[in-house]
């Protein structure tokens, strides 16, 4: 094995090797180190839904099963996130009844603008953001979330989704433009 691209270095390498030999304790340490990030990716794609936990559960089982094939050519976190993202995308395709909004508008607007905008306007803005997120394709949404909440490189996202970096770039452009249009009114209020 040549380079070690993972940030955790040899500790992670050790854990992966132990887990590959069946040490579930080492697997558990790997899982917990990466739990928050993996869940953000899943809930970013699925939204506020009980399916998030099912997908997480299935992802862990699947990861443990595939672990022997993991050659550490990426960090464990990227590898696990990739499994989870693909499961979440499949799940989303299966149950496209988007009763729940996939994302929420963060309370990022400065306090005074929130005060200025009436409750009605706020809830309308929220609804339109949710609609905009719904209008993104699964992959656009996945790319946007992996980029902006995880900080993955487009190249890494391409590996996760199994598509070329150029394609990922286009997903990012499309997602950003769609959302930008919706968020325009909120911006004007600032």
């Amino acid at each position: 094995m040549g380079e070690q691209p993972n940030r955790m270095g040899s500790r992670e390498t050790d854990w992966v090797e132990q887990a590959q030999r069946g040490d579930t304790g080492a697997f558990d340490r790997l899982v917990r180190e990466n739990e928050a990030g993996v869940l953000r990716a899943i809930s970013g794609i699925l939204g506020r839904s009980p399916e998030v936990y099912d997908v997480y559960q299935d992802s862990l089982v699947s990861a443990f099963t595939k672990l022997r094939g993991f050659r550490q050519d990426s960090s464990f976190s990227t590898w696990l996130t990739r499994i989870a993202v693909n499961r979440a995308l499949n799940q989303r395709r299966k149950t496209r009844n988007a009763r729940e909004a996939p994302m929420e508008l963060a309370e990022h607007l400065p306090a005074d603008s929130r005060d200025a905008a009436s409750n009605l306007e706020q809830s309308e803005l929220r609804r339109s953001t949710e609609r905009a997120m719904e209008s993104l394709s699964e992959r656009e949404r996945a790319v946007f979330v992996l980029k902006h909440t995880h900080g993955y490189k487009l190249r890494e996202i391409g590996v996760m989704l199994g598509c070329a970096e150029g394609t990922v770039k286009n997903y990012l452009f499309r997602a950003t433009r769609k959302l930008r249009v919706v968020l325009e009114p909120a911006y004007r209020d600032l």
């Binding site: 579930t24 869940l39 970013g44 506020r48 997480y56 559960q57 963060a106 990022h108 979330v145």
Partner: protein
Amino acid sequence: MTMKCTHDQDLLILLQADELSETEAASVRRQVESCEACREELDRLSHVASAVVPPAVDPDAVARARALAYTRIGSSWRVRSRVMSGRIADVLRRVRPMPELALGMLLVAVGYGIGSRGDTAPPPVAESQMVDVWDIEWDENLGQAVVRYDRPGTRSLSGDLSNREVAYLLQSALLEGDDNGIRNRALKTVQALASSGAPADDLSRAITELVRSEPQEALRLRAIWAMDALYESTELPEDARDALLVALTSDAGDGVRIAALNTLMAHQTFPDDARTLRQVMSSDNNPYVRSGAAETLQRMGIPLEELR
């Protein structure tokens, strides 16, 4: 004269996403410095990037999902680990000259079906590295269930049925434990703890499921005992009653049929049950079951003459 700006939005998106090389980024930044429209656009884009966040997750649900995943993983490893670290290692020590042969034979014997020897080697695992995910048992001194995690640094957990995690782990052990031992210990624990809390629906369903479809007779029997204990002072749920009636008429184990009958007798019977009981009374091949059925029918107020 300033250079005319192309207001290239794609470049701004890439700058904002930190996807430009240093030189590209520097050049786009210069462009932004000198162009009011681009500056404003970049500001909007960072607003977009931060405006959308994945919803928060429920830590309890996450812990449950993780525990359930480990149970699924563990159930495929638990048996293997016990067998490997115990019996097989033992035998290996004794038959040092032909370890592979011994290992191959034993794995076939315990059902790991290595088809032809040498096709898939068993995992080369040192004993110390075979780790059970967790195990659960009834601790008589403590009067509680004790869950032990076979992981260094993970504290064991104890509690009764009112402890959500204990109830949940019991249910997982019943439904997912591949190993008869763990299901047996879980059933014993439920039976012992039955009075400590109202049975969670999931736990009760898991036990009903065992009464219905557990292949091991001894465990079906234990499941009925656990059910009996759980509903000692309350009515049986309909599902549980149905499972008991089916066990009474069709379980191959005499002990299981007797236990099913006893549990049914201890609870309210319904007029519809009379038909099943009549059938049992006349056709069960075990005299205790037949007389138990007759007794129940009498208690239901059906005159004996009518039964003959």
